[in-house]
């Protein structure tokens, strides 16, 4: 039995794990950096210990200090959350060597699945499809042509050191290949000083679909269904849902079976996620496996009704999973919006500052996993995730309507958030129709920005009245006016210009 869990994380995931500990009567131990002394996870945990200065490398990644806290607190298990040390096999080994339970898969599994090539080989060994492509850099154009023909056009020419779309080219016909390879090579050489080039199959309208898997120490491996994660900005997910509006029951079955086989093959235990790419023709390809709890795990919890953190603890305690033997029947539909301290209309520029006022949405079908509180300073040191809003509905329409309703109920003063942007995405016809892929957000971002600037006449009058009222408050003698501030940043100026259009 676990009695006390040290949570080596912060923000909403630390708070979420503390909540489960509370429900089970397990003591929770938080760690915090200097700037996080009054962060929610510190206030909500049973115990909390400082582990160093603000930068993650000095605190949340400071294994030495964390080891000391393990001893001081007499915790008997460590939950890493996601990010930070969660996929660090060496840390997992350190925890186990110190005599504590590691709430995650065994270190060797973390190491295996963390190596992209090894994970790909394991997937291939159980006949899981992987994106066809070269596994070694191409040395000359003849080889490129040969491999491209094997894979089938269109193909993607991409640089080894690439990322974020740089050094990437789509080639539709064989006769465009040479020029594309050459241009990609020279671009890559300039950008990353690395001219190694690979070729892989270009997927049309790809979807990012993942399967939540769970394995206990009694040999049971189950799939808990899929999550659709194709709404992404800068290759980061912002909106997830389950079930996927794109997946039919046949494909769902195939993805689940493949995920279970991969999970079994790598001798996994605990909660894991197998990620796939699925193209418009419903071809699917193994992408990678995340060996930890996923940010978007709540949408799965909402439809299956099980607390996944509780199941993680069961596995670590050597118990059997509590999912029934018969197939799970997910109920209804769930959608999650990640709420970031950033402005979607200004190229997702992060926003820092003090949260002056904060009201959360409530009512039927709404779950909020929050990581911030009123009065808290948002610092630039960590991921700008403020929390996650999850709505449940009998069907997709109801979940979507609740998401719009509850996003509208938010009230955050002091920082900019992605809430207005999420509202427009959820309200957009592509999302409403459930017809979107990983490229959709980029395609519609222009129209979202335009919508973001529109204000009805009534709302403009309301804004005017409010500003006058506020002006009267800050200017007791109506004639005296506060002079303009002397500083102005490009971002706020841009906001101003946008307002003037």
């Amino acid at each position: 039995m676990i009695h006390k869990i040290l949570i080596t994380n912060r923000g909403e995931i630390a708070v979420r794990i503390i909540r489960t500990c509370r429900e089970l009567g397990i003591k929770s131990v938080a760690v915090f950096s200097d700037v996080d002394r009054t962060a929610p996870h510190v206030l909500k945990a049973d115990e909390a210990y400082n582990i160093g200065p603000a930068p993650s490398t000095d605190s949340y990644l400071n294994v030495q200090r964390i080891l000391e806290v393990m001893q001081i607190s007499e915790a008997d298990a460590v939950h890493p959350g996601y990010g930070f040390l969660s996929e660090n096999a060496d840390f997992a080994e350190t925890v186990i060597r110190a005599g504590l339970k590691w709430i995650g898969p065994p270190p060797e599994v973390i190491r295996l699945m963390g190596d992209k090539m090894a994970a790909r080989n394991l997937a291939v060994s159980v006949q899981a499809p992987v994106v066809p492509g070269t596994t070694e850099p191409i040395s000359h154009i003849g080889e490129a042509l040969e491999r491209a023909n094997e894979i089938g056009f269109p193909v993607l020419v991409k640089a080894a050191g690439g990322g974020g779309g740089k050094g990437m080219r789509i080639v539709t016909h064989a006769d465009e290949l040479e020029a594309a390879v050459n241009r990609a090579r020279s671009e890559a050489a300039k950008a990353f000083s690395d001219d190694r080039i690979y070729i892989e199959k270009y997927l049309e309208e790809p979807h990012h679909i993942e399967i939540q898997v769970f394995a206990d120490t009694h040999g049971r491996v189950v799939s808990l269904g899929e999550r659709e994660c194709s709404i992404q900005r800068r290759y980061q997910k912002i909106i997830e849902e389950t079930p996927s509006p794109f997946i039919d029951s046949q494909l769902r079955k195939k993805l689940s079976e493949t995920a279970v086989e991969i999970t079994r093959a790598c001798r996994y235990t605990g909660a894991g996620t197998v990620e796939f790419l699925v193209d418009k023709y419903k071809n699917y390809y193994f992408l990678e496996m995340n060996t930890r709890l996923q940010v978007e795990h709540p949408v799965t919890e909402m439809v299956i009704g099980f607390d996944l953190v509780k199941e993680q603890l069961r596995v670590v305690e050597g118990k059997r999973l509590s999912f029934p033997d018969k197939p799970l029947h997910p109920r209804g539909h769930a959608i999650e919006c990640r709420l970031y301290a950033e402005n979607g209309f200004k190229n997702f520029a992060p926003s820092v500052g003090k949260i002056l006022e904060l009201d959360f949405p409530q009512g039927p079908g709404v779950r909020l996993d929050e990581g911030v509180r009123a009065g808290q300073e948002i610092t630039p040191y960590y991921d700008p995730l403020l929390g996650k809003l999850i709505t449940w509905g009998r069907n997709r329409t109801e979940a979507l309507e609740r998401m719009l309703r509850s996003l509208q109920e938010f009230h955050i003063v002091g920082i900019e958030t992605s809430i207005p942007y999420c509202l427009l995405i959820i309200g957009h016809e592509s999302f409403r129709a459930g017809k979107y892929c990983t490229k959709t957000l980029e395609e519609i971002s222009g129209s979202l920005e335009k919508q973001g600037e529109q204000l009805s006449e009534n709302a403009a009058i309301a804004a005017g009245v409010g500003a006058i009222r506020r002006d009267i408050i800050s200017t007791p003698a109506p004639a005296a006016k506060t002079p303009d501030q002397n500083q102005c940043s490009p971002w706020s100026l841009q906001g101003r210009r946008n307002g003037l259009r």
């Binding site: 207005p420 204000l455 009534n458 403009a460 009058i461 309301a462 005017g464 303009d484």
Partner: protein, 168 residues
């Protein structure tokens, strides 16, 4: 007392009745009555002809950033004195600060795209600030000539640091 508000291209004139102040505000020309109550330092409830609006308002660049229905607009307020000053061209311009580029968040200067003396176009990329594990591209809000750069690549800068100056 008359007030003029400017929201983008929209200009609206209001009359504030000193007798019913602070609740009584009317839209000039239409005489629509409004009831505006402060809920907290930055939040207000407004009823206009029965329509209910929840507003959050913070100061911003000499005006106010007003959020209504999850949309934020910049509103500039002038009272009678200000309107008069403006009429005679006496308003205090802040154009001399327009070319000064400050960073609104702390971070690391990851890349500089320009050098002193460069002719800068509006919206041209100036530099990249790494903050919160992300690269943030800054573009020029104005056209002009880059007169000075106060940082170099690799510098860690605080919130509000002046990075460069563009002469318009």
């Amino acid at each position: 007392m008359k007030y003029l508000t400017t929201i983008g291209a929209v200009k609206l004139e209001f009359e504030v009745n000193p007798d019913t102040r602070p609740f009584g505000i009317e839209l000039l020309k239409s005489s629509v009555k409004m009831d505006c109550r402060q809920l907290s330092p930055n939040s207000f409830s407004l009823l206009i002809d029965g329509k209910s609006y929840f507003l959050t308002i913070t100061e911003n660049d000499g005006g106010y950033a007003v959020t209504v229905n999850q949309k934020t607009v910049d509103v500039f307020v002038q009272d009678e004195t200000g309107i008069l000053l403006n009429k005679y061209g006496l308003s205090d311009s802040s154009s001399d600060t327009l070319g000064k580029i400050f960073v609104p968040i702390p971070g690391l200067i990851a890349k500089l795209f320009v050098s002193p003396g460069d002719i800068i176009e509006k919206d041209q990329k100036l530099f990249i600030l790494e903050a919160m594990k992300m690269e943030n591209e800054f573009t020029s809000p104005v056209a002009g000539t880059l007169s000075s750069i106060f940082v170099k690549t690799g510098d860690t800068v605080n919130k509000g640091t002046l990075i460069m100056e563009i002469t318009i």
